[in-house]
Symmetry: C2
Subunit: 149 residues, 2 copies
DNA sequence: GCTGAATAAAAATTCAAT
DNA sequence: ATTGAATTTTTATTCAGC
């Protein structure tokens, strides 16, 4: 496996899984039959400018470079401005209504952004349902979304 | 000195100086007569969610949390959309013209954002002069600014 | 150039004290 | 609740091999 491919994979992993330390990368890659050491991951992280973020939930996790996240946020912001209809919470759930045909795109972006307070996210044609980690977190998430509009 | 004050100070420092490691914080605080250990800085960083960013220039430096930077970027974006007139480069210099009275605010924001490629920044009434680290970096900075508009 | 093994360096945590 | 000293854990780098 070439370095470029690995970087690509790391980029995916960091969005899908919660990577708390470099050894997590090593293990996941090992499970996939890719044999690589922490030293290499450290170098990859430096090159890709991944960052280790102290998370609200107490631990740490690796994340995409701030710039990239900024770009994702910009996209969300644009889409929210264009297609947002309404938002509401109930318990730990948040539902965002959009103009028809826009929810899926929004859901994908939200998943990519991988917000702390989010547990899961599914989207249909004109609504995105976000399941948060708690009732409080749902509030926080709602505020976050509103701030985009 | 209370923890809150220290956090406030760290927030300033991280924007003004280039902090490469936690010991840098310790030293700077010591110079100011504040006696604190790396352990405490580590805890502060966790609470404040400061991140260690692999910088383009090869090293690492601590930075404000992505969200905060995002907010700054949003402000810059808004101001650029409102008050931007023109931008040009010459050697390692970039000059941004704004509507009268807006340059100072823009300059302040740009300084806060503390971009890699920037060496220094001064602003008057309707123009901001940014001195970059090289001719190439000036190009990069120019593109960055244009992308806000 | 890229990598792993070993090591150094840096950062996080534990533990005890306040 | 906050901290420093000591320690552990994690991360970065060096060095040798390819």
């Amino acid at each position: 496996m070439k370095k470029k491919e690995r970087h690509h994979l790391l980029r995916q992993l960091v969005q899908q899984e919660t990577i708390q330390k470099q050894e997590d990368f090593v293990e996941i890659l090992l499970n996939r039959g890719i044999d690589i050491t922490q030293a290499t991951i450290s170098r990859d992280i430096k090159e890709m400018q991944l960052i280790k973020v102290p998370s609200q939930s107490g631990g740490y996790h690796y994340s995409l470079p701030p710039e990239m996240n900024f770009n994702i946020s910009k996209k969300i912001s644009r889409l929210m401005k264009d297609a947002f209809v309404s938002i509401d919470t109930q318990k730990e759930f948040v539902i965002i209504k959009t103009l028809p045909g826009n929810a899926f795109a929004l859901g994908t972006l939200i998943e990519t952004a991988n917000y702390e307070e989010m547990f899961g996210c599914i989207s249909g044609d004109n609504s995105v349902l976000i399941i948060c980690r708690s009732e409080d977190q749902a509030e926080i998430f709602q505020r976050r979304m509103i701030s985009f509009v």
